[in-house]
């Protein structure tokens, strides 16, 4: 019975998925109804997740661990899902006949990721990883019309399967050197044998799979096309929710080497620097807002990695915090995008012109989101960066902090350009004022408050993340 309680959130999302599966069998689609269902279900899901956030225990022959770490990420996943569901009210990007499937796949994907963050056994990890990927493979090409965007689906798929191939091969090597598939035992076993090439190569290849999900350089190559190609809601989902899971898994696996391999750390440092720099530099020249955010997400992956590569609880905690902050800020940006481009087209930067007139509230949310991403206080983004760099410097990587800050300055340039579009530019043609319903108002205010609150009063959250990080060791 208690096991059942431990598994409750996942079970709930399974039920939700099933429900939408049934809906998808119906002849007459009813988008509004589906949306209402989706919001309610996901909201309940969130509540359940939160309620069960302090449970601990093992399931399925110790393949499945429920602890603070996993539960925090589950909460984040559920939260992201709720938000995406919330913003799916006008799902113009997707044919209304496919709405049910869309919700179904989203639920499945969230479920898979929830399982991912709690599973501590290689096969389980692989399976749930694949499950989430498959649903995303299907979600991305769902975009209606837009033939020129279709190729992004193919690219996403090909790159995805390749990197999953890497991953399973890496897992096989780990299995070979560790003689077990249980992560806790691996953590004990690996540091001893980490100097064997097989072990470290296996670890790297395994991580590659997660890097792919996190869109870390050089596994980022799908990100720009997918962000641009997928419908706004799906992009939002990929940009926010699936990042959480990836971050969680990298944190779990980076710990495997137990810090016994300086080489691995070097590799991670190189990757994080490359990722930050590449993402920011290429973002400078983007015109399409979603594509720009794709590159910025690549850069942010680099920042998260800085926290992780310290391989100590403080660093992991900061990474978790950063992930959470990133979820909030990124969503507040995307929400505004979805509102502004309510017919589901791809928003160009210049289309934001005069946003401050069309809807001051959205403009403010947007601004705070951007400044958060740029890491300007007093937003959550700043505090996240601060914690990450603090961890790095504390470990002795001063140069990482400097490079990170320089990158932050570069990134500020393009965030300011977007900000300028929203606040300064006179619109070329007169756009209508944006209809903002009550829920959106509430949502924007919630987001603004969260951004500021996390930025100024990080105390509880930080201590929570540290408690979570400690469970990994």
């Amino acid at each position: 019975m208690t096991d059942f309680m431990l598994f409750l959130p996942e079970l709930f999302f399974i039920l939700g998925a099933l429900l939408f599966f049934i809906f998808s069998l119906r002849k007459s689609p009813n988008p509004a109804g589906f949306h209402r269902w989706a919001v309610v279900l996901s909201a309940v899901g969130l509540l359940i997740t939160v309620a069960s956030s302090h449970q601990e225990g093992m399931l399925f022959f110790n393949c499945y661990r429920v602890d603070l770490f996993s539960q925090i990420f589950k909460v984040l996943l559920a939260l992201g899902t709720v938000w995406v569901m919330f913003s799916s009210s006008e799902l113009k990007g997707i044919d209304s006949r496919q709405h049910a499937e869309y919700y179904f796949l989203i639920f499945v994907c969230t479920l898979a990721m929830m399982m991912l963050v709690s599973s501590v056994e290689l096969l389980t990890i692989y399976v749930s990883m694949e499950l989430s990927s498959y649903s995303l493979y299907l979600l991305v090409p769902m975009r209606r019309g837009e033939d020129r965007y279709f190729e992004s689906g193919v690219k996403y798929f090909m790159i995805g399967v390749t990197s999953s191939g890497f991953m399973i091969f890496g897992i096989s090597l780990l299995f070979g050197v560790g003689h077990t598939t249980y992560v806790p035992q691996l953590i004990k076993a690996l540091p001893a044998v980490i100097h064997q090439p097989a072990a470290i190569v296996g670890l790297v290849l395994t991580l590659a799979g997660f890097f792919f999900k996190l869109a870390l350089f050089p596994f980022h190559i799908w990100a720009p096309d997918v962000y641009q190609g997928a419908s706004n809601q799906v992009t939002t989902y990929i940009a926010t929710v699936s990042k959480m899971a990836a971050a969680a898994m990298i944190i779990r696996f980076a710990g495997l080497s137990g810090g016994a391999s300086p080489g691995l750390v070097k590799l991670l440092i190189v990757l994080s620097i490359a990722s930050m720099t590449f993402g920011n530099l290429v973002a400078l020249i983007q015109k399409d807002l979603k594509r720009l955010l794709a590159y910025s997400s690549i850069a942010h992956a680099g920042y998260i990695l800085i926290g992780i590569l310290t391989l100590n609880s403080q660093g992991f905690a900061s990474a978790i915090y950063y992930a959470a902050a990133y979820l909030v800020m990124n969503y507040s940006v995307f929400m505004v995008i979805m509102k502004v481009a309510d017919d589901g087209h791809n928003l160009q930067i210049k289309e934001l012109a005069g946003l401050y007139k069309r809807s001051p509230l959205l403009a403010m949310t947007f601004m705070l989101g951007l400044f958060g991403l740029a890491g300007i206080p007093p937003t959550a983004g700043f505090t996240g960066k601060f914690l990450v760099f603090a961890a790095a410097v504390h470990k002795g990587y001063l140069f990482l902090a400097i490079i990170g800050m320089v990158n932050a300055t570069i990134s500020l340039y393009y965030y300011l350009i977007v900000f300028k579009a929203a606040y300064l530019l006179k619109p070329v043609k007169e756009y209508p004022a944006i209809a903002v319903d009550m829920w959106t108002r509430v949502m924007s205010i919630v987001l603004v408050v969260m951004t500021i609150y996390l930025g100024l009063f990080p105390d509880q959250v930080v201590s929570l993340t540290e408690a979570a990080a400690r469970t990994l060791f």
Binding site: L122, L123, Y126, V127, E130, Y134, Y137, L138, P141, D147, R148, Y149, F150, E151, S152, G153, V154, K155, F157, M158, V161, T162, S164, G165, F166, I168, F169, I171, S172, L173, F175, G176, H179, T180, T181, P224, D225, Q228, G229, I285, Q286
Partner: protein, 102 residues
């Protein structure tokens, strides 16, 4: 000739072949097949390790079965996407899909 390393080398070869195929084939189907090679290389690893090193003989085989299953699913999804692409672009050549860049 029946040592672990033999199998490992073979799987490594498989893996490299698969990789080569992915990078070199322009035909999407071909790429998909090469991906299967990657997975099979992994499978071979699992079996080999399982046979030579690991105490509990089940694990590897179970994993292999799982991977096969997933591979099948993957193929299904992949083929469906390729089909859709063919419908839109009348080609299953990856070169047809390189408009998005920069």
């Amino acid at each position: 000739m029946n040592s672990l390393s033999t199998y490992l080398i073979i799987s490594a070869l498989l893996f490299s072949l698969g990789l080569l195929g992915i990078l070199q084939r322009r035909n999407l189907i071909g790429m998909l097949i090469s991906v299967e090679l990657l997975l099979n290389a992994a499978n071979l690893n699992f079996m080999a390790y399982n046979r030579f090193l690991v105490s509990d003989p089940v694990t590897g085989q179970v994993i292999t079965l799982f991977v096969m299953g997933l591979a099948a699913a993957e193929a299904a999804i992949g083929l469906s996407i390729i089909l859709a692409l063919y419908r839109k672009m009348h080609s299953i050549n990856i070169e047809a899909a390189q408009k998005m860049k920069g």
